[in-house]
Every structure is written in structure tokens, then in C-alpha cells.
């Protein structure tokens, strides 16, 4: 029979060794970088095709992206249970899902990971033949007048296109542009392409995705590409600005449709996006080794995009827990609520530290003031706390509104604070105030905040997030350390202070 202490030490030792050992193996045998080094932003794009099948065969074709403009594809994955699946064609490739018949609404998935090691220009391609749409006589007249006006004001294709985009945009003032816009027929295709075709300028769409971290239901956007005889120029029709926007993943160029669904209706194409900052060397290692080592298939990277994002945050929590354990067991700081500091630290990650501190102190101070007023009303506990919850929510809304009006956008992140936790904090603090006086409120509140700030600093550290995400096995080592600390029977720092005068006369 082992003593419980020895048992804990053995288990903790095994956990620590396992975590560290696996990490060492990954570093030395698989070439994972231990230190963050140079970072690459790797985007995981999850494409979701959903549609309502009709009777008969279903045939879904999705144009697959070609890596251009410096983008590199790391990994592709198709989910197509029960469908016949094939990838056809070259440049562009098209994924083709087929099925004889289908009963209910169905979703197909295509996931890819891409990063952009270099920013290159778009490769050259031959312009397609001009196919100006047919116009009725009134439109024809308006079109010619508009083209003449634009040509008179512009010197080349680039300035012509810029002017056209401004006139066709929401701030355009030209009456002919307005007339064309209001009478344009849907079957004539895109109005901008139509006008450019009439002007004799080869043009096309550049389809792709505006990359935003954490977006769940992003849709494809189309940029405008015009050919000035030598080069392709890219314009963003929404902003009328030139050039490829920095966070734009190019999916497809040319007139072909992105998605064709035969035998289905109400088809939708949506993208979920997550960006991970990965060390450059890890990206390279992944590129070379994916599929060859079972270990990598079991890493966090193998999870669906949305879960990866969640785990990016979750894997940091053990670090925060370690901070709390150390501060309470080794230092002896008293906090209000064991893990309240962690929740506050998580909120700080969203708000950034100084803004978060400001918001937190404001909310707690205002809440305490209102709570002291509530305590005169002699309410029962549950309704009192509920009242504080509601008041806190109201305060948060007010704070967000006022700061938005004042143009302080960061304060909008106030919504990341956990309301119920705040309400409990206020309630505890106010009881503490009544019973032990403001001094104790300062001690405990200050202690909680100090621990929260330290936990925040640990969680937002780049090395820490690099290690936890790339070496999740280190979490087991953390567990071992925390188990060992649970058996720590030495003095706390606060006791060295408390007993400082002991035995000295």
C-alpha cells in the first residue's frame, strides 16, 4: 500500500514526464519548433455547401481555388458521405459531388488550409472575348453618354475604371449611370462587366473570400479585374480602391460560376474562417509530414475549424489555473472566489488589459454603489442578486453606448465580461464591506485583480500560447505540477509576513 503522498508523486511524475517527453519527441524527431520564431498566419477555410434537393439526381460542382498571388495551400479535405466524389479538370479544378437521389436538405464540406509566404502579383492570363450585353435604345443612348463623360475625364483604363466605380457606387451623381443601374436586366449579367464590355475593356470577376478571424458565415465576394492591354488591374467595387486587399483569399478568376447545383434549389455557399499564428517552421513541417505521422493526425490541427478556435482558448486555461494555484498556495493571496480571477483574465484577453481594468473597476464600483442602495430595501438574497445582474447588464449597455458615441471603440468589448460573475463579485464585495469593512474589500478585490492580471499576462504571452497550442501534451505536465502543489505543505509567502514578529521580543 503506497502512501497517498507517494502515489500523487508517482502520478504527477508520470504526467510531467509524459508531457515533456512527447514535446521533446515532437521537437527533435518531427521538427516542431520549441520557440515561436517567425510566425505565419495560416488560415483555415471551411466551405459549407447547403441546398434543398429536388427529385432526381443531384450534381454539385464547386470550383476549387488555385493558389495564386503568393498563397500556398497546405491541406485539403472533402466531406461527402454517401456521395460519389471526384475532382475534375485542371486550372481550375472542380470538385464534383453526385448522388442518384436525396431526401432532405444536405450540407457538403470542403476544408482547406492556406497561408501566404510571399505577396505576389496575380499571374497573367489571356483576356476573354468581349461580349457586350444587348441594350434597349434608351439604355444604349445613356451608355454612350456615360462612356463619353468617363472617357473625357480619364487618361487610361485605370482611371476610367476608378471613375466608373465611383459613378456606379452609392455616391455616384451621373444621371445616366443612375438610369442604367435602375433599368439593368438581371440576365444581362453584372452591370460593371457590361459597361466595361461596351467600353471595349476586357474585364472579369475575381472571386474570393475576405478573411476575418472567427467569422462563421462569410460569403464569397467578387472583385473586379480589368485588362489594360498589358496587365490585369484589380479593383474593389465596394470601396473603388485599386489593388488586391491584403486579407483577400483569391478563389477563382474568370466568368465561370463558383458553384453549380443541378437537382437542388436554394443552394448556399458559406465559409467559416479561423486564423492561427503558426511558427513558420511548423507550417513547413506540417506540409511535409501531414498524413505520414499518426501523431500529427491526432493534434489539434486535425479538428474542424470552429473547434480549433475554441481549443486555442481552452488550452490556455490550465496555465491560468496554475497561476491561481501558485498565487493562492505559495503566495497566499486571498481572492474572492477561487476561479473568478480566471474569468476576469479571459475577459481581459478580449478587451486588452488597460481597457479591461478600467471597465471592470467602473462596473464593480457602480455596482457596489447600487448594491448598497439595494441593501436598504431589505430584499431577499436571490432577488437582490438578480437585481444586481440586471443592473450590471444595464450598466454595460450604457457604457457601450456612451463610449460608442464618444468614439471609444475598445470599450465596446465590455460585453465580454461575464455578467453573472460580475454580479456575484459585487454581491460578495458588498457583504464583505458590511461585515469586515472597506479594508478587507480592498485586500480581497486587489488580490483577485492582481491574480487576474498575472493570469492574463501568462495567457497572452506568445511563448505560452505557442507552447500550449502546438504541444497540448504539456497540459498533462501542468496537471502533474498542480497535483504536486496540492501536496505542498510548506509556508506561504503571506505567512512569512504574518509571523514575521513571532518569537522576537
Amino acid at each position: 500500500m503506497l502512501s497517498s503522498r507517494l502515489k500523487i508523486e508517482l502520478i504527477a511524475g508520470a504526467l510531467i514526464l509524459f508531457g515533456v517527453g512527447l514535446t521533446v519527441y515532437k521537437v527533435f524527431a518531427l521538427g516542431f519548433p520549441l520557440l515561436p520564431g517567425e510566425y505565419r498566419e495560416v488560415w483555415t477555410i471551411e466551405t459549407k455547401i447547403s441546398f434543398q434537393p429536388e427529385s432526381g439526381a443531384v450534381d454539385v460542382k464547386l470550383t476549387l481555388p488555385e493558389p495564386v498571388a503568393g498563397w500556398e495551400l497546405l491541406d485539403e479535405h472533402f466531406a461527402s458521405s454517401g456521395f460519389g466524389f471526384a475532382i475534375r479538370g485542371e486550372e481550375p479544378r472542380r470538385a464534383n459531388w453526385t448522388k442518384q437521389n436525396l431526401q432532405r436538405e444536405t450540407t457538403l464540406y470542403y476544408k482547406l488550409q492556406a497561408y501566404r509566404p510571399t505577396v505576389d502579383a496575380l499571374p497573367d492570363r489571356p483576356p476573354e472575348a468581349l461580349m457586350p450585353p444587348l441594350l434597349n435604345p434608351d439604355q444604349q443612348v445613356a451608355m454612350e453618354r456615360l462612356l463619353n463623360v468617363l472617357r473625357a475625364k480619364s487618361v487610361d483604363v485605370e482611371s476610367f475604371t476608378s471613375l466608373l466605380l465611383v459613378e456606379m457606387g452609392p455616391e455616384g451623381s451621373d444621371p445616366d449611370a443612375g438610369f442604367l443601374r435602375s433599368t439593368w436586366e438581371e440576365e444581362s449579367g453584372d452591370i460593371l462587366l457590361g459597361i466595361l464590355a461596351h467600353a471595349g475593356i476586357p474585364a472579369g470577376h475575381l472571386r474570393g473570400i475576405r478573411l476575418e478571424d472567427g467569422r462563421r458565415r462569410q460569403t464569397a465576394s467578387a472583385l473586379l479585374e480589368v485588362y489594360d492591354g498589358d496587365n490585369w488591374l484589380v479593383f474593389d467595387p465596394e470601396t473603388a480602391s485599386r489593388g488586391l486587399p491584403p486579407n483577400f483569399f483569391v478563389w477563382q478568376r474568370g466568368s465561370q460560376a463558383l458553384l453549380d447545383v443541378v437537382g437542388g434549389s436554394r443552394s448556399r455557399l458559406e465559409f467559416a474562417l479561423v486564423s492561427n499564428s503558426l511558427p513558420a517552421r511548423a507550417v513547413v513541417a506540417m506540409e511535409q509530414r501531414l498524413g505520414r505521422y499518426a501523431l500529427l493526425d491526432f493534434s489539434v490541427y486535425a479538428l474542424p475549424v470552429e473547434q480549433q478556435g475554441v481549443f486555442k482558448g481552452l488550452l490556455l486555461l490550465p496555465v491560468a489555473a496554475l497561476v491561481v494555484v501558485i498565487m493562492r498556495l505559495l503566495v497566499g493571496i486571498s481572492t474572492s472566489g477561487t476561479f473568478m480571477p480566471i474569468l476576469i483574465a479571459i475577459a481581459f484577453i478580449q478587451t486588452t488589459l488597460l481597457v479591461g481594468l478600467g471597465i471592470f473597476l467602473t462596473l464593480v464600483a457602480a455596482g457596489l454603489w447600487i448594491r448598497s442602495w439595494l441593501s436598504h430595501m431589505n430584499l431577499l438574497l436571490v432577488s437582490r442578486i438578480s437585481a444586481v445582474v440586471i443592473v450590471v447588464i444595464f450598466l454595460m449597455a450604457t457604457l457601450a453606448l456612451v463610449s460608442y458615441k464618444l468614439g471609444l471603440d475598445q470599450v465596446l468589448s465590455v460585453s465580454f465580461f461575464p455578467v453573472v460573475i460580475l454580479a456575484w463579485t459585487i454581491e460578495r464585495m458588498s457583504i464583505l464591506w458590511e461585515e469586515e469593512g472597506p479594508h478587507e474589500v480592498l485586500v480581497q478585490g486587489g488580490g483577485s485583480l492582481l491574480v487576474a492580471v498575472l493570469a492574463y499576462l501568462a495567457m497572452s504571452n506568445r511563448l505560452v500560447s505557442h507552447l500550449t497550442f502546438n504541444f497540448p501534451e504539456l497540459t498533462l505536465s501542468l496537471l502533474g505540477v498542480i497535483l504536486l502543489l496540492g501536496k505542498y505543505t510548506g509556508y506561504r509567502l503571506s505567512e512569512l509576513y504574518r509571523f514575521r514578529n513571532l518569537g522576537r521580543d
Binding site: 505543505t489 509571523f499 518569537g503
Partner: protein, 316 residues
């Protein structure tokens, strides 16, 4: 110096909170017995069944609807104490010493209305003073008619005696004297004086306020040299019996001296042990080791106390 080195504390045998939690509370106090200590109603009934003297229970208020009639319950009594059954750290205790017309008089001489008493009870029921804010029960019990021989050592509040007993052996004791600075409360960190007591005799060893040694009570001026707890044997006997009563092997008993009944058990604490080391200016660890030896040598209640007085006396 702001900090003491861990080595110095270890040399003095100071018991830290981590060691207390892992080595004593976690090891010797079974979780399932905690309610006996945390719920004062349970403590009281268990103590009565063992003939341990406790303050007489006048009434119990359990439900909110009884609060409206609570003042009728109090009619027969001149003085009483209202406290939460599961209060922690002496919170939520209302001491009424007399009446003036319809109103009540608090210990400090302040007058409070029947409505305020009802509100206090209502707050207790809502769990304002209780661990974790759980719903609680209010208990009304007899006022301690406390022994006048100790009156000069306390300002406004009742001085109480804390004895830590380990496996039936009294290990360390102190008296807590309220001061003006502590607002009549017997809480050391709020400025009450802690007086370390000799386990052998019940006389004062040293007195500490705010971590500094003092010779006399700061408000009454009474010198602690003359302090000698009467009925000391009975105090130790009571504390040791509580270990047997609760099954918690490491425990603090809070005892007050009543004029008629002598030592009376006020409440028990399953997590004691840090402040008492400051009051005694001595560490607990070596004493706990000796107590373990005593407990291993004999199972007899009286023999354990005798051995404790012989080996742990003198305040070493």
C-alpha cells in the same frame, strides 16, 4: 524586516495553512462530520446529549413567514442573542441585553426597533451571513451571563477562550479580548488582543495585539499578568470532549465562562490554528507531534488531559 525566513519559522515549529489543510484538516477531519460543527443547532443538540453545557436555546426561526411573528417569540426574554445557525467567523450575531419600551437595547447601549430585529432575522434566513450564501436558520439563545472576573480584560464584547484539541489532547489555547479598535469583536485581525494561555494552568503567557506584544489591555488598562482563567480543568475537559463528540480529530472549541454554569461551549471550528500561534508566539507543529504521542499512548480522556498539562504547559 518584512518577511521571516521559512527556515526560522520551521525552527519555531510554526504550522502553515497548507500544512494544516493537507496534514491535519484533510487527514483527521472527515468531511461528513463537518455539519456537526458548521451548523450550530446540530452542535448544540449533540453537546446537550453529552451533557456539555451550552447556552440555552430559546427559539428557532426557520421560514420567512415566521419572521413577522418573531417579536412575539421574544416577549418572555429580557436579553438574548440572535445568530445564524451556519454563520461563519462570528458574523450576523445580534446581542440584545435589555429592553426600553418596545425597543431593544444592544450591548453597546444602542437602541433598535422590533422592525430592525425582524430584518436582521430575515437577512439571516436569506443566507447573508452564512458560508456560500446558503439559506439559513436563525437561532435565538440565552445571553451569556459572563463571569465578572474576566470583565476587565474585555471592552464591550465577551472574551472567549479558544482551545485547539488534537485527537482528544488540548494543544494550545488563547483568550480573545475585544478592544475599542476591534469594535467590540473578538477578531484578532481587526485589532482584538490575543492572549496565549498556559495549557497547564490557564494563566496568561503573553498577549499580542496587531502582531505586537502588549502587557495590558489597551482600553481597560488591566495587566494580563494577573489573568488566570477559572475552572481551567473544566475548560480543557470540555475541549477534549468536543473531539469525541464530533469525530473531528483536529478542532477548535470556543468556550465562554458563565457566572452560574462555568465554562460553556459557544461553537466549534473545524479549521482553526493560525491566529492562535501569533497569540502564543509559538508554533503548533511540535505540540501536535507531542499530542500525537500522548494520543497513541493512551485512550483515556482524563489521562490525555493530564499528560497534556504535564508536557505542553509552560508555553514552550
Amino acid at each position: 524586516m518584512l518577511f521571516r525566513s521559512p527556515a526560522a519559522l520551521r525552527r519555531m515549529g510554526v504550522l502553515g495553512m497548507n500544512e494544516r489543510n493537507v496534514g491535519y484538516i484533510g487527514r483527521y477531519n472527515p468531511r461528513r462530520n463537518y455539519p456537526l460543527v458548521d451548523n450550530k443547532l446540530l452542535t448544540k443538540s449533540r453537546a446537550q446529549s453529552r451533557a456539555i453545557p451550552v447556552p440555552q436555546l430559546y427559539a428557532v426561526v426557520e421560514y420567512q413567514h415566521q419572521v413577522a411573528r418573531s417579536n412575539e417569540l421574544l416577549v418572555p426574554y429580557q436579553g438574548f442573542v440572535i445568530k445564524p445557525a451556519q454563520g461563519s467567523g462570528g458574523r450576523g450575531i445580534l446581542v440584545v441585553q435589555g429592553r426600553r419600551g418596545d425597543n431593544y437595547l444592544k450591548a453597546s447601549g444602542m437602541e433598535i426597533s422590533p422592525d430592525e430585529v425582524a430584518r436582521h432575522i430575515s437577512n439571516i434566513l436569506a443566507g447573508l451571513h452564512s458560508l456560500g450564501g446558503r439559506n439559513d436558520t436563525a437561532m435565538v439563545e440565552a445571553l451569556i451571563d459572563f463571569d465578572p472576573c474576566l470583565a476587565k480584560f474585555s471592552y464591550e464584547g465577551v472574551p472567549d477562550i479558544r482551545v485547539i484539541a488534537f485527537r482528544g489532547v488540548p494543544v494550545m489555547a488563547m483568550m480573545r479580548c475585544a478592544t475599542h479598535a476591534s469594535d467590540g469583536k473578538a477578531n484578532l485581525h481587526q485589532g482584538a488582543v490575543g492572549v496565549g494561555l498556559d495549557i497547564a494552568t490557564g494563566s496568561a503567557l503573553r498577549a499580542v495585539q496587531h502582531g505586537q506584544l502588549v502587557d495590558a489591555h489597551p482600553d481597560t488598562g488591566a495587566s494580563f499578568d494577573s489573568l488566570q482563567i477559572p475552572h481551567w480543568e473544566r475548560v480543557l475537559d470540555l475541549a477534549a470532549s468536543c473531539v469525541e463528540m464530533t469525530g473531528l480529530q483536529y478542532l477548535g472549541a470556543d468556550i465562554v465562562l458563565d457566572r452560574q454554569q462555568g465554562p460553556v461551549l459557544l461553537e466549534l471550528n473545524a479549521r482553526p490554528g493560525l491566529a492562535i500561534q501569533v497569540a502564543n508566539q509559538a508554533g503548533l507543529r511540535d505540540r501536535l507531534a507531542i499530542a500525537a504521542e500522548i494520543a497513541a499512548a493512551t485512550d483515556d480522556h482524563d489521562e490525555k488531559i493530564e499528560a497534556a498539562r504535564a508536557r505542553l504547559g509552560g508555553g514552550g
